[in-house]
C-alpha cells in the first residue's frame, strides 16, 4: 500500500464537535457522516491559520449537498480529506444518473419510474439534494404529496434552489394553503437565481399572496425572470409596461418583451404582437404571428387573422402559411 495514504494532516480541530460529555443527537447521525479512522501524528499546524482541509466530514457533506457534478468533482480534488468526505456524494451522483436514465428511458434502459424512484431515494440518502428534488418530483407526479414535500424540505434546508422553488410552489398548491411559507422559500430560491421561483415570487407579490401587495417588487422580479428566459414572465413584464403597473409606461419596452415572448411560443403574446404589427402595417408578419396564436389555441386571433387575410393576395397568403409552418420557437427556460 502506498505509505502516503496514511499521512493525513489530522488536527485536533476535527474532533471539536464533541466538547461536552453529554450524549447529543450526533449518535443518530446519518450514514453520510464518515470520520477518518486514521489518526497519524498530528502535525503542529499553526494555530492562527484556519485549516479548511480539516473541516468535519458532515459539514463538508452539508456544504456540497446541492452541488452538481462538476463542482463536486472539483471540490473532491482539492485535497484528500475533502475527497474522502465527498465520496458518498459522488456515489449519489452515480445513482442520480441511473435514476435519470430510468426516468427518461435513456442509455439502453426502458422507462421505469419505480426503479428511477429507488435510485433517486438512494442518492438522496447519501445526501445529494439533486437526487432529493428528483425523487420529490416523482412522488408529486404520483400524487404522494406529503412525501414529496418532505423531500423538498430536506433539499431546501440544504440550500438547493430547485428544492426551495418546488417547496414554495407546493405550499401554494396543497391544502392547507400556506402562502407565507411559500413566499419565504420562493424568495430564497429567487435570490439564488432560480428563474421559475422568481416568476412565482413575482406572482405572489403581484396578487398579494402571503405578503403585502407590492407592484414595484413584482415587476422587478418579473424582469429578472424574463431576463433569465422565462416566457410567461416576459409576457407579464410586457403587460406591466403597457399598463404602467409598478413602473412607468413604456411602449417600447412593452413591445420588446411582447416580441420576445411571442418568439418563444407564448400564445397570447403572439396574438398581441400580431395585433401590434398589424397596426403598424406589417401585414405579412402580423399574419404569421396571428396564425401561430391560433394554433396555440387563441380563438380571438382567428377572427382578426381572417379579416386581415382578405387584404392579402394569394401568393402572400401562401408565403405566410409557409413561414408559419417553418417557424421554430427560440429556446427558453420554460
Amino acid at each position: 500500500m502506498n505509505q502516503k495514504t496514511l499521512l493525513y494532516r489530522s488536527d485536533a480541530s476535527r474532533f471539536i464537535a464533541f466538547p461536552f460529555s453529554k450524549p447529543d443527537g450526533r449518535d443518530a447521525k446519518t450514514k453520510s457522516s464518515r470520520w477518518s479512522k486514521v489518526s497519524s501524528e498530528s502535525s503542529s499546524s499553526p494555530t492562527n491559520d484556519p485549516d479548511f482541509s480539516a473541516l468535519p466530514f458532515d459539514i463538508l457533506t452539508k456544504i456540497a449537498a446541492p452541488f452538481n457534478f462538476p463542482n463536486l468533482l472539483a471540490a473532491s480534488l482539492v485535497c484528500r480529506s475533502w475527497g474522502d468526505a465527498l465520496r458518498a456524494l459522488r456515489e449519489a451522483m452515480v445513482l442520480l444518473r441511473q435514476g435519470k436514465q430510468f426516468k427518461h428511458g435513456r442509455g439502453g434502459v426502458g422507462r421505469n419510474l419505480e426503479k428511477a424512484l429507488v435510485s433517486f431515494l438512494k442518492g438522496a440518502a447519501r445526501g445529494s439534494t439533486l437526487a432529493m428534488v428528483d425523487a420529490g418530483l416523482i412522488y408529486w407526479e404520483r400524487g404522494q404529496k406529503e412525501e414529496a414535500i418532505a423531500l423538498y424540505q430536506k433539499a431546501a434546508a440544504l440550500g438547493d434552489a430547485a428544492g426551495q422553488c418546488n417547496l414554495g410552489i407546493s405550499y401554494l398548491n396543497t391544502q392547507p394553503l400556506n402562502h407565507k411559507e411559500a413566499v419565504k422559500w420562493l424568495h430564497q430560491a429567487s435570490v439564488g437565481g432560480h428563474v421559475r421561483a422568481q416568476y412565482q415570487l413575482a406572482l405572489c407579490l403581484h396578487q398579494g399572496l402571503g405578503v403585502e401587495q407590492n407592484l414595484q417588487e413584482a415587476v422587478k422580479w418579473y424582469l429578472k425572470a424574463a431576463e433569465g428566459g422565462y416566457v410567461r414572465a416576459m409576457y407579464n413584464a410586457s403587460l406591466c409596461y403597457t399598463f404602467g403597473e409598478g413602473l412607468s409606461h413604456s411602449r417600447r419596452q412593452a413591445r420588446k418583451w411582447m416580441k420576445r415572448a411571442a418568439d418563444r411560443g407564448h400564445g397570447k403574446a403572439q396574438f398581441e404582437h400580431g395585433l401590434a404589427l398589424f397596426s403598424e402595417g406589417e401585414l405579412l408578419k402580423a399574419i404569421v404571428y396571428l396564425e401561430l396564436a391560433t394554433r396555440s389555441g387563441e380563438a380571438a386571433a382567428t377572427h382578426v387573422k381572417n379579416a386581415i387575410l382578405q387584404q392579402l393576395s394569394a401568393t402572400s397568403r401562401d408565403l405566410a402559411l409557409l413561414l408559419t409552418d417553418n417557424w421554430r420557437a427560440l429556446p427558453s427556460s420554460r
Binding site: 502506498n2 502516503k4 495514504t5 499521512l7 493525513y8 494532516r9 480541530s13 471539536i16 464537535a17 464533541f18 466538547p19 461536552f20 453529554k22 447529543d24 443527537g25 491559520d49 484556519p50 485549516d51 479548511f52 482541509s53 473541516l55 468535519p56 459539514i59 452539508k62 456544504i63 456540497a64 446541492p66 452541488f67 452538481n68 457534478f69 462538476p70 463542482n71 468533482l73 472539483a74 471540490a75 473532491s76 480534488l77 482539492v78 485535497c79 484528500r80 475533502w82 475527497g83 459522488r90 451522483m93 452515480v94 444518473r97 435513456r106 442509455g107 439502453g108 434546508a157 440544504l158 440550500g159 419565504k184 424568495h187 435570490v191 428566459g229 421554430r328 427560440l330 429556446p331 427558453s332
Partner: protein, 246 residues
C-alpha cells in the same frame, strides 16, 4: 421575575464570561440541552469557542430572536441583508463560526455559513479552491487519477453537467469547439441552426467553459441555458442559446 428575563452564563475557552438572556442562548440546541438537563444555575462551559466568536454568535442569535419575536421591526429582506453582511468576515472567523455553529448546534447559523462556503467553492477549479482556502494539495498523481477515473462517465456526459468553450462564435460560423468527448453540437444562433459538427477528442483540455457576451476576464464563467438530448449511445446533441460575438 418572569422566565423571559432569565439569564444564562456562558464561559468560553479563553475564560470570558457572557451573560445572555435564556431565549437567545437556547438558540443553540447544545446549550438548551445542557440547561434543561444539567445545571441551570452555574456557568455553562463552551470549551471550544473563543470569546470573540461567541460574542459574534450571540449577536446573531439576538438579532434572529428579536426579529422573530417582533421586538425589532425588520423585514425578511432586511434580515437577509443583515445575514449577508454578518458573514463578510475573514477566513479565520468564518472557519471558527462554522465549527462553533456546528458544535453549538445553531442550525440557521450553520446553514448560513455553509452556504457562504459553498458559494466560494462553486464554479471554481480545484487549484482555485485551494488558493481561496489556503489548502495544500496532498494528492499524489495516482490518487488524483483514481478519483477522476472513477467518475470518467461524467466527463462523457456534457450538457447541463459539464461546460463548453466556444470561442469566437461569429454570426454564422462556429470557429472552435473543443471537448474531450465525442459529441455532436448544434449551435442555435438567431433562430437558425448554424452548424452541426462532430467533435473529436482533444488532449489536455479537461474542462470547457461557455463564455457569455460580453467576455470579461474578471467575471466568472456563466453557463448558458443548455438542453441535452440523447441521440444514441455516446452521442449527445447539445443546444446552446446565447448571443453571438460580432
Amino acid at each position: 421575575m418572569g422566565s423571559t428575563s432569565t439569564k444564562i452564563k456562558l464561559r468560553t475557552s479563553d475564560q470570558k464570561v457572557f451573560e445572555v438572556e435564556k431565549a437567545v442562548a437556547v438558540q443553540s440546541q447544545t446549550i438548551k440541552y445542557i440547561y434543561e438537563n444539567g445545571c441551570p444555575d452555574s456557568v455553562i462551559h463552551v470549551h471550544s469557542v473563543s470569546g470573540d466568536i461567541l460574542s459574534k454568535i450571540l449577536d446573531y442569535c439576538k438579532k434572529h430572536v428579536n426579529s422573530a419575536a417582533g421586538k425589532e421591526d425588520i423585514s425578511p429582506e432586511e434580515l437577509y441583508e443583515w445575514d449577508a453582511n454578518f458573514v463578510k468576515v475573514d477566513q479565520n472567523t468564518l472557519f471558527d463560526l462554522i465549527l462553533a455553529a456546528n458544535c453549538l448546534k445553531i442550525e440557521s447559523l450553520l446553514d448560513l455559513t455553509c452556504q457562504t462556503v459553498a458559494n466560494m467553492i462553486k464554479g471554481k477549479r480545484p487549484e482555485e479552491i485551494r488558493t481561496t482556502f489556503n489548502i495544500k494539495n496532498d494528492y499524489t498523481i495516482e490518487a488524483e487519477e483514481a478519483v477522476r477515473r472513477e467518475n470518467k462517465w461524467a466527463f462523457d456526459m456534457l450538457g447541463g453537467v459539464g461546460t463548453m468553450v466556444i470561442e469566437e462564435l461569429a454570426d454564422d460560423t462556429m470557429s472552435k469547439c473543443v471537448t474531450n468527448t465525442k459529441s455532436r453540437v448544434c449551435v442555435i444562433a438567431a433562430n437558425q441552426i448554424v452548424m452541426m459538427r462532430s467533435i473529436s477528442k482533444l488532449a489536455n483540455k479537461k474542462s470547457i467553459d461557455v463564455y457569455k457576451q460580453p467576455q470579461n476576464p474578471t467575471t466568472p464563467r456563466i453557463k448558458e441555458s443548455v438542453k441535452q438530448r440523447n441521440v444514441g449511445t455516446g452521442f449527445i446533441e447539445l443546444f446552446f442559446h446565447f448571443k453571438c460575438k460580432m
